[in-house]
Amino acid sequence: MSVSAPVKNLGASPALEICGLAKRFGGLPATKDVSLAVMAGERRLIIGPNGAGKTTLFNLVTGDIKADAGSVKLFGRELLGLPTQRRVQLGLARTYQILTLFAGESLIHNVVLSLLGRHRARLDPWRPLASRRQLYDAALAALEGVGLAGSSGRRVAETSYGERRRLELAMALAQRPRVLLLDEPLAGLSQEERRTVGDLMQKIAREITIVMIEHDMDTALGLAERITVLHHGEVVVEGTRAEVVADPRTKEVYLGD
């Protein structure tokens, strides 16, 4: 297996560098020798038909599942072998395709839980959480960023699907991650909500590198600088928007080989 990284955009340093990553589920290879490098500040779109191994790739990067081989580096630091929470401490954040929010809690409590993940107070069993004004102020600011400050006290169960998507985003952004993985941030949204969430993503600061899985090309293509096409767990095409669209292999992947 090749360990040499496919270095592109010489001059910029890679924020996320994946080399020869592989994972099998039983006899079924879900990820086969995937290598890609995402530069700092880049917006990368990952596309591919169902079962291409996109979410598996995210799960390998976050440590939700263990890789069989390869390497994943975050700003040069090897992530494989570290537990998920350590990777998060190093600046990795992620939103989920299937929403996994704390449904019985208020929106602001969800964001506070997210902030606690990188806060040293998280094991303090004595001081009331509600007295930590700084945490609540930061959480409210994060909600404001996605236009949900007005409903911070509502419970997640009482909110719409679109609002939950925005909450997902607020929770991830509140942590001030360096690399943000977005797993289908627009899935299940109406046209109008897509535009709202798309605008929010557009506004995310450049200090945050974004890797995004998305099927909605209209919105996603507008955001992404480079696109990686995955198929059968392999990188088929990678390049700028124009390059990928022009490449015959892209059509092949989507129209069947």
């Binding site: 537990p83 998060v88 506070v112 606690l116 959480l129 509600a130």
Partner: protein, 327 residues
């Protein structure tokens, strides 16, 4: 407002209990309820807030209990024995936590059950140390600051103070950052990990705190009974604590206390009138699970809320009628 009055009445009742009821039997019963409540509350840190079902909680009752008795009998003073016993119980919890947290759900339950049974087996079989099935006597209740605790009333107050402190600490825990994290790992462990939380450490810490408060309760238990036997470590004890918490409502702070009170009362009072009190307990449990699946406290709260609402509606309707009549 009604809540405050309710709590104030409750506190007053607890404080005045030995003064009003001058019968040692009932005062002792109240003491037993407090000890059982603390055990159920300590277990509920794991169960209610952490979502971890443990069937080995009696192990701490036994380890700290035997620890206290044996340390005192090997001529340590009572304070040293008490501190040593709590350290012993808490350390055991820390070790058991490492073992039990290798699994979750049913696996966790089975490991705690097995660990509890091992400790029980040791207490039952190691005759030279524990006196086996006969148990061992504890010489006398301690007298902190020179206050003699031999009487029922005084020991009740002693227990009440310890219980109140523990309850306050557990209340603080539930409102703290750690409490929020713990409930987070109960509801969405994978998500918590992705938010940077060390799920294992959070659960382990809950396990240790739970063991710590159970050890405190076990000291009270030894002082109350002046005796310990393998029965304190039996599976039945563990199951009973679990039952108390679930019966009262594991998702509330008051639940385990209510559950402990009810079960202790059925065991001690009803059993003098009804031979098959165990069956009665079973029927009670089934009834609560069927009609109030979240336990007595949440069930009663929901019921009160419904009554209040229908009262408001009735008032509103009659008011509307009256307004209609005047026109």
């Amino acid at each position: 407002m009604t809540r405050r009055i309710f709590i104030a009445t409750l506190v007053a009742a607890m404080l005045l209990l030995p003064v009003v009821i001058r019968n040692d039997y009932y005062v002792n019963l109240a003491t037993q309820i407090l000890i059982a409540a603390l055990l159920a509350q300590s277990l509920n840190v794991l169960l209610g807030q952490g979502g971890m079902v443990s069937l080995g909680h009696a192990a701490y009752l036994g380890i700290a209990g035997y620890g206290c008795v044996l340390l005192t009998l090997s001529s340590f003073n009572q304070l040293t024995s008490a501190v040593g016993a709590v350290l012993l119980g808490t350390t055991a919890a820390a070790l058991f936590g490492v073992l039990a947290l290798r699994a979750s759900g049913l696996g966790f339950l089975m490991i705690t059950l097995a660990l509890g049974q091992i400790v029980w087996g040791v207490a039952y079989r190691w005759n030279d140390l524990t006196g086996g099935d006969n148990g061992i006597r504890y010489p006398a209740r301690p007298s902190p600051f020179g206050i003699d605790l031999a009487g029922a009333g005084r020991f009740y107050y002693f227990t009440l103070v310890i219980w109140a402190l523990a309850t306050y600490a557990i209340f603080r825990l539930s409102r703290s950052a750690f409490g929020a994290s713990l409930r987070g790992t109960r509801d969405q462990p994978r998500r918590m990990r992705m938010l940077g939380h060390n799920v294992w450490l959070i659960r382990w810490f809950a396990f240790v705190l739970s063991g710590f408060w159970a050890s405190i309760a076990s000291l009270l238990d030894v002082y109350y009974n002046l005796f310990i036997s393998p029965h304190a470590l039996s599976l039945q004890q563990s199951a009973e604590m679990l039952l108390m918490a679930i019966l009262g409502g594991a998702n509330t702070l008051a639940g385990p206390v209510v559950g402990a009170a009810l079960i202790t009362l059925v065991k001690n009072v009803v059993s003098t009138y009804v031979d098959r009190w165990n069956s009665l307990l079973g029927v009670l449990f089934v009834g609560v699970v069927v009609f109030m699946p979240h336990g007595l406290v949440p069930g009663a709260t929901a019921l009160m809320e419904r009554l209040r609402r229908s009262a408001v509606r009735a008032k509103f309707l009659s008011g509307a009628d009256a307004a209609g009549a005047t026109k």
